[in-house]
């Protein structure tokens, strides 16, 4: 009897901890003491920017931080302030975030992440005088004429990542770890594979995803990222590219332990990883300059040249995507990289978007 009771208590604890875990990632961002946050009733004339983060909020060393960096840079140039909001753990309150930002009089309001698309379709028409922008989601054809889509040719950046991996691989065997098997991440995979095959036909490429579509844990599960990467290194791969957000940490650790190398994603992870041992294995990072895109959007907005209802595509040509060179590990193949960049920009190479 006692044992049964103990087990039930354990089960209850387990369930409770799951409920807790479900709430736990809702770290606040506005309390982190940045002088620029809050204050929706500041003096007029300056920009009043509303920023709605994707789940996780600021401090992810990746996507959201990059968005904030763009806003910060724009404020430095143009003046103004920003109100930042983070969704709750299950992200069911995206509509509330946008409503609050618009109600508070912020203009423009920037939504970070394609998951805001549905919420914008609901909120934007209610605030025709407010300009909205959404990262990673197309608005053309949706009829929302006060929303701008900030898009990235992630496949083009990943193509260069694939070229770099293929050229630097000694075993002729490389890997790819995706966070969530969603169309967005498949675009990374498609570009990477195309680039690797273009640079070294017949190269072996292991491809794995951490979680299936609809289960977004794959972006925040370093342990699983590490296991997948370990498997690739053990089967002979020597360079693994990750497009897995926070799970990339595990890929770097696996690379470090296996004596292999890794390619980072989104921001220059050589600079942001913060651990010299891991820094050494980060050969390059496929950059997605969310910061540049947002800064550019805000500059355009302050000049009054934003009309809404259109997409702004940030690709290799505009410098919206590319490879980082911190650490100097790909300096020796710079000419080949530049070569492929030219071919993509000129249209000689058409990079696929689906694997």
């Amino acid at each position: 009897m006692r044992r049964v009771r103990g087990m039930k208590a354990a089960a209850l604890l387990l369930a409770g901890s799951m409920a807790l875990a479900a709430c736990a990632s809702d770290e606040d961002s506005s309390s982190s003491g940045s002088g620029s946050s809050g204050g929706s009733s500041a003096s007029s004339g300056d920009l009043q920017i509303g920023l709605a983060y994707d789940t996780g909020g600021r401090g992810d060393k990746s996507f959201n931080d990059s968005a904030y960096a763009g806003v910060e840079a724009a404020i430095k140039d143009l003046g103004g302030n920003v109100t930042e909001l983070t969704p709750n753990a299950d992200a069911s309150n995206r509509v509330d975030l946008l409503t609050q930002l618009a109600d508070d009089g912020n203009n423009p309001v920037i939504a970070v992440g394609f998951a805001f698309a549905d919420a914008l379709a609901e909120v934007a028409p209610q605030y025709p005088d407010t300009q909205f922008a959404v990262v990673d989601s197309s608005v053309e054809g949706t009829g929302l004429d006060n929303v701008t889509g900030l898009l990235f040719a992630a496949n083009e950046g990943s193509f260069l990542g694939g070229v770099a991996a293929a050229l630097k691989s000694e075993s002729g065997h490389i890997g790819f770890v995706g966070g969530v098997e969603s169309p967005l991440i498949q675009e990374f995979e498609a570009g990477y594979v195309a680039g690797a095959q273009a640079a070294k036909p017949g190269i072996v490429i292991d491809r794995q995803y951490i979680s299936p579509n609809g289960d977004f844990s794959g972006f925040s599960d370093p342990a699983k990222g590490k296991i997948l990467a370990q498997g690739m290194f053990q089967s002979g791969a020597d360079i693994v590219y990750h497009a897995a957000g926070g799970s990339g940490q595990g890929v770097f650790e696996a690379a470090s332990e296996a004596g292999g190398r890794a390619i980072g994603v989104d921001s220059d992870q050589y600079e942001t990883v913060g651990d010299p041992a891991l820094q050494a294995v980060i050969m390059t990072s496929v950059l997605k300059r969310v910061d540049n895109a947002i800064q550019g959007y805000l500059t355009d907005y302050s000049e009054g040249s934003i009309s809404g209802g259109t997409d702004e595509v940030n690709d290799l040509e505009s410098g919206g995507v590319g490879l980082s060179t911190s650490g100097g590990q790909i300096d020796d193949i710079k000419t080949q990289i530049d070569d492929y960049t030219q071919k993509i920009v000129s249209g000689d190479i058409e990079v696929p978007t689906t694997p």
């Binding site: 009771r5 089960a11 409920a19 753990a89 299950d90 992200a91 579509n213 609809g214 289960d215 689906t354």
Partner: protein, 388 residues
């Protein structure tokens, strides 16, 4: 026991839990150098204009609806000391199948909506039924199997969504099922605001509210006023006593899990029928787990669960204005988290108090103390003595 005392003991534990959570949160806020009073002010401020206030109320109720249904599903199992941790998987499977079938058929309005609801309940019941069958035929603990089935449901739903049930165009950033046509959607209840002479904001109050209230009342009647409900509660309190009095425990396990699963199948429907009209890769997840907390806080009683769900939804809503006011929204997370822990502790304390009172009462009326003071033992986990 008089009505006042019954209500008093019913409310004692949850009130204690909320109080503990508020005190702990206030201490944390104090340590962070934030004024708890200011935080509380922001939390209860629903907005400046009438339209904003009604929008806030609608947001709270719309959020509370799925939490209420999830809590109800969990509670049905709890009342029989069955731990249905699998509500998460049950509602995921139910929602995706209901969304797909709802989009595939064309029927007149009431029938179309009814079909979607029936499909949702059926799929939820089937998914929970697997747990029941494993338990009665193989003795597999429902805790283990229902947790495992959550993972299977997640993977299966993902496979179905990206494979056979896919309705969105190739390459769309959000993969979804096909849209349910107009006849299969439930309109909002915002007409009520007009009737009451209140502001009518664009945000629609889910029409599913009416159905959820009916389900809540139905479950209460079933548990409290029928032979089945009596058997269920009796089995939960003491399996051996129940089976000695002729209750077929294995049958009860199957029936209870089917019922719990059927209610779990409704969890995703307020959103599906009222707003999204499709199941997609970013459909709200985690409601099944929150339901466990809501059921605990509501003491497995439909009325209590409704209040608990509204409290959770109220706290959730507060996180946005708190951030906007540059106050730590993690307060909300802390309160919600500590409630879960506090409610377990508070239930135990309240249980002891009422038990002691009952013992004292029975001692006064001579007779020996009751073997197993039935009236107080309604909280699973803390008190259950074994499995059937």
């Amino acid at each position: 026991m008089t009505l006042v005392r019954r209500v008093g003991t019913l409310l004692l534990a949850p009130a204690l839990a909320v109080a503990i959570a508020v005190v702990i949160s206030a201490v944390v806020m104090g340590l962070l150098g934030v004024s708890p009073v200011q935080v509380l002010k922001v939390m209860v401020d629903l907005g400046d204009t009438p339209s904003q206030q009604i929008t806030a109320v609608v947001a709270i109720l719309n959020r509370a609806l799925p939490l209420f249904l999830a809590g109800l599903a969990v509670a049905i199992g709890f009342r029989m000391s069955l731990f249905n941790i699998g509500v998460e998987g049950q509602y995921r499977m139910a929602t995706i199948v209901a969304a797909t079938i709802g989009a595939a058929v064309a029927l007149p309005k009431p029938l179309h909506v009814a079909l979607i609801i029936v499909v949702g309940m059926a799929v939820g019941a089937i998914w929970a039924g697997i747990v029941a069958v494993l338990k009665v035929t193989r003795g597999v603990s429902e805790v283990i199997s229902s947790i495992m089935l959550n993972f299977i449901a997640l993977g299966l739903a993902s496979y179905l969504l990206t494979g056979p049930f896919r309705g969105s165009p190739e390459g769309a950033s959000i993969v979804s099922t096909a849209q349910i046509p107009e006849s299969g959607r439930l309109g909002g209840l915002n007409g009520v605001f007009d009737v009451l002479g209140l502001a009518n904001p664009p945000r629609q109050l889910y029409g599913f509210l009416v159905f959820a209230v009916l389900v809540g009342v139905g479950v209460w009647v079933l548990l409290q006023r029928t032979r089945f409900g009596f058997d269920l509660r009796a089995t939960g309190l003491s399996p051996s006593a129940a089976s000695a009095s002729g209750v077929d425990a294995r049958r009860m396990v199957v029936k209870t899990m089917l019922l719990s699963g059927a209610v779990a199948g409704l969890v995703g429907l307020p959103d599906l029928l009222g707003r999204t009209y499709e199941y997609s890769s970013d459909f709200t997840s985690g409601l099944g787990f929150l339901g466990i907390a809501v059921a605990l806080l509501g003491r497995n009683n439909p009325g209590g669960i409704a209040l608990a769900a509204i409290l959770y939804a109220f706290l959730d809503r507060a996180s946005v204005p708190l951030q906007s006011a540059s106050l730590p929204s993690s307060v909300v997370t802390i309160i919600q988290g500590t409630i879960v822990l506090a409610v377990v502790v508070a239930n135990e304390i309240a249980g002891r108090i009422t038990r002691r009172a009952a013992e004292r009462a029975s001692r006064q009326s001579s007779g020996p103390p009751p073997e197993d003071s039935m009236t107080t033992r309604t909280i699973p986990g803390v008190v259950s003595e074994g499995t059937p």
